[in-house]
Each structure stands twice: as structure tokens, then as C-alpha cells.
Symmetry: D3
Subunit: 236 residues, 6 copies
């Protein structure tokens, strides 16, 4: 029934290649099916003004898509002079999600910036960015710990994200682009351990019941577990 | 326990004054406690390019805050040269929420723009904007129906929104600013009839369980029912 | 002869409601006929760099119109990425006019920002902004005086403004929008006590004689006197 | 008493050199003392949308200052990404002033753009721009008339402008920069024939009486007469 | 003598992987040592206005760097609101260089946009972009030829580019970042067949003789030959 | 054969008038045929952050064209909100070229900004800007030396620039606009003494051989010698 032939509760294949750029303190290329996102982590000693001298760390994120990461070419945001509303919304979500899984006291007064750049898009780029972004973040933190600059692990549990939606009347896990563009209801679920960080369910020209919401949450639980396993393997 | 002395499941007083500006096709001033939002609806005969000649209508929204609607003055967005990320996120939410409650065939090929301008802010401005925005929209549509330009009601049920969150460990309904700035977890719930349009639950530096999520949804149900009653009274 | 039926030297009804927002140090909603402007005053301890450590205070102003304050919806300036030429011109005029009535030594080294936001426009918004802006300024200064932070009144006399123009060949006081859009010559007159602060007479596709100018100044004298009375009543 | 040793009613020397660029349809370099402005006129067959098919012509203006036209270097507006408030205000004034002296029916449906670029500034650049801009405009119109494209002269009388102000308590004509930067009250007067087009009197931290206003108008009358003579000589 | 231990006339290892994204009509990942650039080609049926209905084709290019493609993180251009001067200069060079090798009549009235995005930078990104950009372009054109939309090959010879410079007094081929940041003189050479398209020699705080220029051109000849071989292998 | 009737190795008439504005520390109006550029030098005591406390000086440049310096009016860059790619490229070239001829130790820790504003354009504006810019720079430095602020001449040799190109198959010196717009290959050559600073050869839709390059360099040598003579005469 799904265009890809997957089961309703079946994720696309997930791979996470680490160390893909020599400059960044942490990096990976995450592939969730045909969605490919390059994630890098940059450590800086300065923090934003509002937490200066608080002893707390900060994690923030930026998101971009290469112009031809999509089926038809998108205008380059640098050329159009600003980041679009969707970009801003996504990078705020990535930052907020990752921060929820960080012990900012343990991190200490430094900032880590996660850049998520979509090389190829096929649905679910924001979820792949969060999942891959956490891996880049973890690798950067590992470097700080190995250097003795951080002594207690500020990232006890992975943060991962997956999308679910109602496609052709059926709740399905991990929407790809053909499903996403048809689904009236879709949601993004960010979790750490068995707890929720962010739930964004949204209906474009449709509505949903609480029962349907529960079904999507159950699917998300399954997907997140598989992503966390991949994250742990990549950062072991 | 709440700073305002309210019960955990008690809304702030809600009032909706209609017809507050002589130019707009629909308008209201919604007050949810000390949060005051002026909402106007503008009807235009043109639609966005992507639905031209489809026979379908469109509803979109813009959001702004007066510089001194808040405790300390914010920089005017027109002066800083762009709308901030939060503004863009909110106005996309308002537009998406209202569209979910519109029969776009019945509306016909025209666009209605809802402007939500916050005159005074005390938490929950995006929810008040959706609730008040629907009233302005309804009043504009009523004008179209009275003029015979629209014959079947494109707005069968009100769309309303309320925020809930976990304040001091306790799920509470309709956060005001002192609560909102302390709550680790908060959510915005948009509903029409007994169905959900949008659920946005978000944790800043915290996480939540599925049980807590259920409690917040129950509170939202109660709040939405009261808001819908106010909307129906205002547009009767 | 006037569309509104007013006498040539008759102002529209003027009302000034104070304390309309709980956050600002001073605020009012001024209504001059169907022109409604919300004015707020914000006190800050910092001053612009060019007067730092001079002991002098500063008063500045910003102006905006809600998108649907006008007959047809205007594009939101925050969305178009800049303030238009008319907006910039008006807010410079408001700031300059108010400063002319301030004893900046008495005010002391602090800045007061006056925000004038037009909720509904029907001609004369810049004059209403100056007149209402002075009321918000006065209320904020009163707060400083009551707190003992300012000891000598820096605002001895109200600053008020009114427009006059030549409509259908006849000099008239306080142009409303239908008159303003037809008038070949119109002027804005800002006064304090019986002295002038600013005179802006402008002809779009027309010219005027010195005699006509004198007639407009006489009308302005009458209008200003009535506005000053309203300002004094509102701030007593 | 004046820094330059001029009489209170004495203009700086005025010269107008025409034909200073080979590309423009009309051009001049106007020098009013040490204020030098290059003015060009560009004729285009298109008009702004709001007068399309009206048969009416349009005149508009743009204004700029070279970065080192002033005592200390100003930031280039093209580099800072926008025209400042003062620039916008001035170019709107130039356009409005010149239009008031144009018979737009006689001009026919075409647009003439006047560019006024200040090569060296020493006070009064906006007045020099209007006076020189009219000369460039006249020369361009002469070309249209010689070509038979315009048959009735759309510019019967010169439009000229001069500044006056109260310097050291004394009304003086044609303020130069040292006077302008000290004057509490200054005004710009635009005239055609013996009629006024624009009067802008403004007090920075000061006020003025109607008597003083009359004195400034008398000075302006004298200055304008001299400027008009120079304009007529340059375009004869 | 070179930091990398290379001979003065030795290129870094070059690899070109094609078909790296499923959406673009042509794509490759070019690696010149540690400089990695992803190049995509997008075919569109529209051309820029200035060649509409001329029957001629157009090739244009855009260039970007991922924020952490460099040793320290650069600000994202989309976030800073514009493309910097260096970016603009480079993408104009890429477009001009590729166009010089295109038979625009044979291409027919269509536009191909080459996007060059630097994933990892280590000197010579603009040259790698031209060399890889040609490969993406060729692959896209091959698709047009296979589909019968283009019948005569518009790309008879590869266009390739290499940098040379004077490092520690010695002319060397293919500067990497440690060399580039030290070299007083460096040049970029774009060639097709044995003819030159673009020569950009530039001295930052230094000068060079015509003899030195000849030596650099000789080095470039050698490097270009190797790059062309790689291009031919990749597109065979 | 050339539209102007010049010999292939014949420059247009060159004149350099110095001291054309009273405010700048150095200034000239350079005319190369009908190309007229006003160049000013501004001395400031501050330097860019990256050389603070290095003891080194800095020279930078900005470039602009008056809107009607060209055959048809160009949009004012200040109005369009940014400097175009061509402007940015040119002003970077001017700055780089002038710096190559400066002894930055001798200049001492100060910055000189060269503004090059094209009053009338007829081809070769960037070369005229470099040549004239050096004159303005030299005059400003002379002032510093006369005041004893600089003791060793930081500008031993003039920096000059000329364009050459292949017009109608023939290498020619100093392209004017009619030639430039037809030439398939053109180059800009910046020299000081008998050494090269910058060589930019570029082919729009064409290619060139090394022999042709040599011929253009020979022509450039001749032109530069004449320009240097004019520079020396102007600054003697």
C-alpha cells in the first residue's frame, strides 16, 4: 500500500557515517532512505550574552538545504537574502530538541553549534537532522571529555526524532516524500529515553482524533528505538 | 498555587468585542486575561498563484506585536528589517490552523488575510490570535454570505486554541506569562469540534511522559469548549 | 460643504483615554474622529551614544500603522523588510516635535521612546500621534517625578499638532481622509504655547499664496488650543 | 556677524553649468557657494502603474551624497544596504516640489527622473538640488519640444528653493554649513513665480514666533528671485 | 619544501565521483586533495530575459560553502542576509568560464544552472568548482542528447581550472590552503583545449614579473592536462 | 578600424585634475576620454580589527556609478538595497591593487579609504579608478608627510591600470565602451614600475592563445607608461 512497499511500521534503512569532514569537532552523514544530511558540530568557548558567567553551556543549530537537494531546484537562501520561514522553524526545533537532552551544567560554559545541511531530500529532513545532529554533538563532546575539559558526560541518552502520519487513512511510520506530500496529518516526535521532548502534530486541510494521535505515538516509539540503536552504534 | 490564584483547570476571563475597526470586513478585540489581540479580516479577490483557477479559496495570517505590548520594549520588526523566527513560526501556525477549519470549495476563489496584532501581551498570544482570528474570519464570511457571494457556509465549526503546560510539576490550563516563563513543558492545542488540528508540545530543558501529555489534552478539551462558546456568542 | 458637514474651523471630536496598557510607563489611546492612535512611552536609562555623559535626556519616536488600519490593506512593513519613506518621515517629525517641548537638562540622562501605532486611520495620523505622544510622554515623566528621579518638570507646556488645508478652494481645519485625499495644499502645524515648532506646508500639484498660509495658521491656532485643553485634562 | 562675512540677506555666489554629462537628456552642475550638486534628467516612455493610460506625465527624483562630499566621510548608502531617513525625506521633497511646477497634461504620458548627486556639501544641498534639478528637467523638456514630442511648454515658470534660518538670534538667508549646524530654527522654501509650493520650518530644540516666520519668508522671496534669474540664464 | 611534500609541479590526487544525487540532471563530487565540492546541474526550459527568443542557451553558476567546510566556522550566508563579495566574484567566474566552452546555439534555448557547494575546503575551491561543474554540465547535456532534445554536442572540449602561485619564492602548481594563505602571488587559470578562457593573477602585498607569469602558465598547462583526463574518464 | 579612429596602440586623452573637493585629504577628477571618475582619499586613525596593534596601515576602496553615468539610467544601488556583484568585484580589485603599491609599515597604523565615483562612463572605469585612486592616495599621503606624521614615503612608485582587448580580431589598447561591448576577450592590467600587480583576462563566449596574451601585455606596458607620466605630473 505504501509507495515504497514498506510495512506501515517499517523505517527506511538508516546509516550513519561518522568523521566525514576533517575540520569539524564532530561530524556525520546520516542517511534515512534517500534523505541524506551532513551534520557537523563546532565547539566555541564563547556563549550567548544571556548566559554569560552562568557556568551553563549552550547548544544551537542551523539548517540548510542545497539548492538541488530537491526534485526541482530551490532558490539558494543566501541569494534571496534571508532564511525562509520553514528554515527558521526547523533550526529552532533542532536546537530546542538537542538542548533538552543536554546537561548544561556538565557541558560547562561553552557553545556547540550543530550545522545540518541537506545534501539530498526525500522527506523527514528535520528528523534526520535531529538524529544525526545528536551524533555530531556526541562526537564533539567525546573530544572534550577525552581532553579532560568536560568530566561528567553531559549527554547521557541519545535524542532522536521520527515523523509519522496518516497516509491514505492509515497511520504509518517514517514518511518519505511521496507519502509526506499526500498526508493530511503528519507529526514529528522527538524523544530521549522513553520520554518525549517535542510533539508536533499538524493537519493541513484536515483534522485528527485522539485515538489516531495515540497510534502515531506508538509508531514513533518503535522508530525511535531503532534510531537510538543506530546512534549508539555510531558513537560507541 | 498558581500566581493568579486560579484553579488548575480554570481559564482566564475571556471577552471578544467585535466590529472594532470600521475598515476591515471582519474584526474583533479578543481579551484572554491581560492578553489583548486585535484581529482583522481582509477579503481580496485574488488568490496565491499556486491555486489560481482551482476554484479553491485561501486563508492566510500575519502576526505582530506592538513594541511595548510586553514588559520591556521589544525592537520594532519593521525597523530591524525582518520578522523574527518566532513571528514567522506563529503566523504560519495561525494560517494553517484556520485553514483546517475552512471548506475551501465553499469559500470560492478568494483570499482572506487575518491580521493578528498584539496590543498587550501576558502569555498565550498565539492561541488568542487563532481564537480571535476565527471570529474575524467568520464575520467577514458572514458578509460574503449576506451579499450572496458565498452560498454554503465555509466555516461550519469554530477553530479555537489554548495553551496548557506543566507548572511547578502540575498540569495547568491557559498559562499566563508568569507561568509560561517558568514552565518546562508547554503545549498549544488547536481544535475544531472534538477533533484536533494541531498539537505542539515542547520542552525547554525538560522532557515529559505520555501520561502527562494525556492530562494536558484533557485540560485543553475543557478550555476549548469555553472558548468556542465565546466565539459562538460573538458571531451569533 | 465639507463631506462631514463640519464648519470650516471645526475640529473632529477628540478623546484621549489614558493608561490603556499595563506595561508602558505612560500610554494613551487618542481618537480624533475616526483616527485612532495608541501611544506608549518607554523609559530607559541609556541614551544614544552622541549625548553620553552630557547629562542631557533624549526623546525619540517610532510610528507604525496596522495593516488594516486603512481602507484597503497595506503590506506589513515588517514583512516587506523595511520602513517606507512616509513612515520614516513621520517618525522623525514626531521625535523632533516632542523634543522641542522638552527641557532636556531637567529630564536628565535617560531616553524616552514614544511608540505611535495607528489602529484606525482617517486622516491626520501624524498630528494625532504628536498630540497623543505628548500625553504618553507626560504620564511617563509624571511617574519619574513622583519617584523623585526628576525634580523639575521637563515638560512645562503641551506640544500639539493639527493639520489644515485648502479643500475645494476653502481653508479648513483638521482634514479627514476624504478631504485630505482631495486637498491640493495641506499643512501640519506643531505648536507649544503660542509658539511654533514645525510648519510643513506642501502642495501636491498645486501652489499657494502667503495670504492662504496666514489663513491656515489662524485655523491651526484655534485647533491647537482645543487639543491642548484635551491634553491638560487627560494628564491632570 | 555671519561666519562667511555675508550680509543677513545675501546669497552665496550661484553658478549653473549645463550639459555636464553626455548621456543624460538634461544635466547641470549647480554650485551655491561650496555646495556642488550634479543634476541629471532621464526621460523614459513608461510611467508608474497608478497613472498608466491617464495621459498624464510624471516627474520623480532621487538624491545621494558621495561618501566624502562631507567634512568627515559618511558610510556609502549602497554599502549599508538602504537609503537613510534623511535621504528618503529629501528625495520625496525634490520630486514633490518639481511636480508642482509641471503641467502634467502638457508633458504627456512619460516619466522624467531627476538624479541629484552631491559632489561637495556645505549646507543647503536639498535646496540646490531642487533649483538645479529644475534646470536639468527644463533642458530635457526642451529636447522633447525641439523633437516635436511635446508641443505646449509643461514648465512655464522655474521652481527654485532656498533655506533661511535664525542664526545667533538673527534671521538670515541661505544658511551655509557652519550656520546650519548652529541654527535652532531653519526652513526650506520652495517657490514658483510668487507662489509657494512647500514651506518646511523646523526647530531642533527651539521654537519660533509667527513674526519670525514672516521675516524668513521675506528673505526667501529675495533669494528665490536671484535663483530664478540664474535658472533662466542657464536654460535660455 | 612544500608543506605537503609534493613536487613543485605535482597536483594533489584528483577524484570525480558522478551521479551523487538522484534529483539533479547531472552531478558529481570532485575531490582535489582535501578540497571536496559537490556540483549539480539543473536544466530549465526558460532563459534569462535578455536572450529570450534568440535561440541561444545559457549556463550560469552559484557557489556556496557549508559553514564548517573550513577550519573555523564561517557565518552562514543565508543567515547574514547576503552573499559576500568573495562568493559573488567566484560564482560569476564559474559561470563565465563554463559559458566560454559552450556552443550556445547547439544547446538551444534552455538554461543550465550549476550549483557548486563546498563540503570541505583546503584551497582551490573555485578551480575545483569549475572542473567539477563542467562534469555535472556534461552529464546533464548527455541526458539531453540521449533524449534527442539536443542533436549536436554543445560541449566539444572540457573546461578545467587550476591555481598556481609563488610560494616561498618558488612557482608551484595547485596550491593547498597552507600554501595559499602564505603565497604573495597566486593565479587561477581556466582553459579549454590548449586555449585560455580566464587568467586571474593577483598579488596581495606583492608584485610579479612577466617571467614569473610565464612559469605559472607552464605549470597550469601541466595541471589542466591531468584534470581534463579525469573529466574525460568521469564522463565517458 | 577602431570606432574612435584611434591607432591600435593609442590611449584616449588622459587628464587628471587634483584638489576637486575641499573636504577630502586627497582628491582628483580623472578623465580617460569620456570616462570621468572622481576619486577621494579619506584618512582615518583606526584600522580594521585584523591588523589592530600590528603597526601596519591599510588601504581600502569603494566604487560607485552615478545612476545616469551610463547611456541608459541604471538603478541606484542605495535604492535597490545592495551593491551588485560587479561593484563588489571592482572595489575589491581597486583596494587590492593600491595596497600592492603601499609600504604598509611606512604608512603606519592608519587607514586610507579611496572612493571612486563614476560621473560619466565610457568603458574602462575600473582602470581609471585605480589610476586616479592612486593620485588621491598620493596626495593624502603627501599631507601626512608634510605634517611629519609619516616620515618615509610609503608610495615609492605609482600604481596604474589599463584595459586591452581583442576587438574585431585585433589586439587594441584602452577599450572604450563601443569596443568593450563588442570585444570577446578583454583584460585589465595593473602595474607598478615594470612589475605586474594584477592580470585579469577574461573571455565572454570566446578563448585566447598565449600569443595573444603576450600581445595584450605589450600594449598594456605602453599604456601604463603614459598613465604613470600623467600621475607623476599630477602629484609633483
Amino acid at each position: 500500500m505504501r509507495p515504497s512497499g514498506r510495512q506501515v511500521n517499517e523505517m527506511r534503512p538508516v546509516s550513519i557515517e561518522v568523521g566525514v569532514t576533517k575540520h569539524a569537532e564532530g561530524s556525520c552523514l546520516i542517511k534515512v532512505g534517500d534523505t541524506h544530511v551532513m551534520c557537523t558540530a563546532t565547539i566555541e568557548d564563547r556563549v550567548p550574552p544571556f548566559i554569560k558567567n552562568s557556568g551553563l553551556g549552550w547548544v544551537t543549530a542551523e539548517y540548510g538545504m542545497l539548492p538541488r537537494s530537491t526534485g526541482s531546484r530551490m532558490r539558494r537562501e543566501a541569494a534571496s537574502g534571508k532564511q525562509g520561514g520553514r528554515t527558521v522553524e526547523i533550526q529552532r526545533l533542532i536546537g530546542r530538541s538537542l538542548r533538552a537532552g543536554v546537561d548544561r551544567v556538565a557541558l560547562g560554559e561553552r557553545q556547540i553549534t550543530i550545522d545540518c545541511d541537506v545534501l539530498q531530500a526525500d522527506g523527514g529532513t528535520r528528523c534526520a537532522s535531529i538524529t544525526g545532529g545528536w551524533v555530531a554533538l556526541k562526537l564533539a563532546v567525546n573530544k572534550l571529555m577525552k581532553a579532560g575539559l568536560v568530566t561528567s558526560d553531559p549527554l547521557p541518552e541519545p535524542v532522536a526524532a521520527v515523523s509519522c502520519g496518516i497516509y491514505a487513512g492509515q497511520p504509518v511510520l517514517d514518511l518519505d516524500y511521496p507519502e509526506d506530500s499526500e498526508a493530511g496529518v503528519d507529526g514529528n516526535f522527538v524523544m530521549t529515553g522513553n520520554r518525549l521532548i517535542e510533539v508536533q502534530m499538524s493537519a493541513e486541510g484536515a483534522t485528527f482524533s485522539r485515538d489516531q494521535m495515540t497510534q502515531l505515538l506508538d509508531l514513533a516509539d518503535k522508530g525511535i528505538a531503532e534510531l537510538v540503536a543506530a546512534q549508539k552504534a555510531a558513537t560507541a
